[in-house]
């Protein structure tokens, strides 16, 4: 199966006041068609930058982004616009991402006219109604002529999703798409997105800081955990949430409070050596996580950068210590078999 989108060895620098800041370090990600890839990590880990790059909103300073195997930097003319239409983005804040003086109809019909998908107002109205139904904004007749301020947060976010769907995309990059809406309606928004995936064969890149949401949304899909501009662990959602290998992923999972008093109060904790995330302008040498890592081994972790390698659990992990422990276990097992 060819990947629909791929990031290959991306290094990215932001330039601010003549100083360069590297925000992505050798990031490679593969997005398979009709699947969900969740990018998880703390603020500043590079998840939004990666999302923007996949959507073509940022050009990487090093490495390539491939759309169906073609480098997007070399795409021109019709091919380029096909790519730009195929990958759409849904932003975090539905209060900021919709133009407050445009009605729902105007917001949704503009891209339809712009891309020649409809030819007159009548067709546009029919298509906009369809789109509203698709994102469960019913009855569409009541909402089509409303302004954003007349809608609730959840309804606005549904309009943003409908706007992304106007140009019949194949991939949707959803950047913290549910973090601003009320808890009581988050699940139904996620369900709508999942339903759309089934119905339209969409592929999602879902960016979130909430592992519980990632688990629920991806379900059997992939989760990639990022830390300080690097992917440090990637695997299927059940593996990442039940058998995390990298100490950072373990810290994230154990730190998460759960909506059940008994479980959350008796959860095993994985205490970090330092509370504060280092600055991207001074990324620690070796493994970037070593100053906070409870499994830190001097002489290795602070000298050599660990590469992503397959783990026993079925994920890929970049950690010297867990890899070595696994190797050690295997050696013990091999020896016991021999004897």
């Amino acid at each position: 199966m060819t990947a629909i989108l791929e990031m290959q060895h991306i290094n990215h620098f932001f330039t601010a006041r003549r100083s360069k800041l590297q925000v992505l370090f050798d990031v490679s990600l593969t997005v398979q068609p009709n699947q969900t890839l969740c990018l998880v990590g703390e603020s500043g880990c590079g998840k939004t930058t990666s999302g923007k790059m996949l959507a073509g909103l940022l050009t990487p300073t090093g490495g390539k982004v491939l759309y169906e195997g073609h480098d997007v930097a070399t795409l021109e003319g019709a091919e380029r616009s096909a790519y730009r239409r195929a990958v759409q983005i849904v932003h975090q804040d539905p209060y900021a991402s919709l133009n407050p003086v445009h009605t729902v109809y105007r917001t949704l019909s503009f891209p339809l006219f712009r891309h020649g998908l409809v030819h007159n107002a009548e067709e546009a109205r029919v298509r906009v109604t369809e789109l509203l139904q698709l994102v469960d904004l019913t009855p569409p007749g009541d909402l089509i002529d409303k302004f954003p301020h007349q809608l609730s947060g959840g309804q606005r976010q549904r309009v943003s999703i409908a706007r992304a769907l106007t140009v019949n995309p194949r991939v949707i990059v959803a950047d913290e798409a549910v973090s601003m809406v009320d808890v009581s309606i988050r699940i139904s928004l996620l369900n709508t997105l999942n339903e759309l995936q089934k119905r339209l064969g969409l592929t999602y890149v879902f960016i979130t800081h909430d592992l519980a949401v990632a688990r629920y949304f991806a379900w059997e899909g992939q989760i990639a955990v990022m830390y300080l501009g690097r992917v440090i662990e990637q695997g299927s959602a059940p593996v990442i949430t039940t058998a995390p290998q990298h100490p950072y992923t373990r810290a994230l999972i154990t730190a998460l409070p759960e909506p059940d008093p008994e479980i959350t109060r008796n959860k095993e904790r994985f205490t970090l050596r330092s509370q504060d995330i280092p600055s991207l302008s001074r990324v620690p040498p070796g493994c970037a996580f070593h100053p906070r890592c409870p499994l830190f081994v001097p002489g290795i972790c602070d000298m050599v950068r660990p590469e992503l390698a397959p783990s026993e659990a079925g994920s890929v992990t970049a950690c010297h210590v867990t890899a070595r422990t696994a190797m050690h276990d295997e050696a013990v097992r091999a020896r016991s078999v021999v004897s």
């Binding site: 703390e42 603020s43 609730s152 947060g153 009320d182 808890v183 009581s184 309606i185 988050r186 699940i187 139904s188 928004l189 369900n191 800081h209 909430d210 592992l211 519980a212 949401v213 688990r215 629920y216 379900w219 949430t241 810290a251 994230l252 999972i253 730190a255 998460l256 409070p257 759960e258 909506p259 059940d260 008093p261 008994e262 479980i263 959350t264 109060r265 970090l272 509370q275 504060d276 995330i277």
Partner: protein, 350 residues
């Protein structure tokens, strides 16, 4: 029973709006015991922030406390927070009852160093010994796991969001308050930062023994931190009780709905659901139970008659005609969960 440090009786707050009176808080009564932590949960617009602001008398001009009392009791003195005059109110705020606001970025003055903001606060409340205040601030910063010297001499922009939030918490408890009100203390923070703040709050509470009122829509955090849980809907308390009974046998369908809408790492996909519909218009409230239009258990009775808040179990009250329904539904869920877990276990050990 411990003595309550704060007793709120029949509190109602309204906002003046062009369309009419917005009834943001309606007839709310509760007791906060010394050293106890209480969480108020509900959707945005349910009145929880208005309630918190009224307890420190920081409501905007358009709001008015229509009725009710809030009796504060500490060290032999008893006073009604709503009847305090300017000077008394200044004494009450921060030294008796401190509030930690949601947005740590906006709550600190960006052009003043943390040190001068700490000193200003102390001076405004009658503490003029700068050296003593500094020592106290430094030890508090240590307690909230900050690098004391560095943070004390920093400007807010030099600190991360999580650090600023911890500075605010440390400043909140600077004058040994009896009550600390926290409005969404961890929203918009990363998981690990959130964990630090939860741990810091637990530790401070243990060492200083203050009572906490905690406003949130995050059930997970409430599950971890609180003794008592209050669910608010359309400005009213619809359920109040100790944390475990409310989580395991909720007596109000709205609480049940919130529980089902909160995904955990181990929740099953089929068990999660959103609450359909949206909250009522707080200007023209419908008669009967305000939650009825969104409720799976509603009958004609609910539409005509508003259920009162009735105690059904020790300390556990709910305002629902059919309070047993959510209890049964949740019990069925937990039984099914236990069954699945035991099956998983027996599969693992053949």
């Amino acid at each position: 029973m411990a003595t309550p440090v704060l007793t709120v009786n029949h509190l109602s707050v309204e906002y003046q709006s062009p369309r009419g009176q917005v009834k943001a808080v309606r007839d709310v009564s509760f007791e906060l015991e010394a050293g106890q932590t209480m969480a108020f949960i509900g959707e945005s617009g349910c009145g929880k922030t208005t309630l918190a602001l009224s307890l420190v008398r920081l409501l905007p001009k358009a709001a008015r406390i229509v009725s009710g009392t809030a009796m504060y009791q500490h060290g032999g003195k008893t006073m009604d927070v709503f009847k305090l005059n300017g000077g008394q109110l200044r004494n009450y705020r921060w030294s008796d009852c401190a509030m930690v606001f949601q947005s740590a970025l906006n709550a600190l003055n960006p052009v003043l160093k943390i040190s001068s903001q700490v000193q200003d606060t102390a001076r405004a409340h009658g503490e003029h010994d700068a050296h003593k205040v500094e020592q106290r601030a430094l030890s508090l910063f240590e307690m909230v796991r900050l690098d004391p010297e560095r943070v004390y001499n920093a400007y807010p922009h030099e600190l991360s969001g999580g650090m600023r939030q911890r500075v605010l918490i440390a400043m909140g408890v600077l004058l040994h308050p009896q009550i600390v009100i926290l409005d969404e203390p961890t929203t918009a923070l990363d998981v690990l930062t959130q964990r630090t703040i939860i741990d810091v709050l637990k530790q401070l509470r243990e060492e200083m023994g203050f009572a906490m009122i905690f406003i949130s829509h995050d059930l997970s955090m409430a599950a971890e931190l609180t003794h008592k849980l209050v669910t608010m809907y359309a400005g009213q308390i619809v359920e109040i009780g100790p944390v475990n009974p409310v989580f395991y046998s909720p007596m109000h369908p709205y609480t049940l709905g919130l529980l089902k809408a909160a995904p955990g790492l181990h929740s099953f996909r089929e068990d999660l659901a959103s609450i359909p519909g949206s909250p009522p218009d707080l200007i023209r409230l419908p008669p009967g139970c305000k939650f009825a239009p969104r409720c799976p258990f509603k009958t004609d009775l609910c539409i005509t008659e508003e259920p009162p808040l009735v105690t059904h179990a020790p300390d556990h009250a709910s305002a629902c005609h059919y309070w047993e329904e959510p209890v049964v539904a949740r019990k069925a869920f937990h039984d099914a969960l236990a069954l699945v877990k035991s099956e998983l276990k027996s599969e693992k050990q053949p």
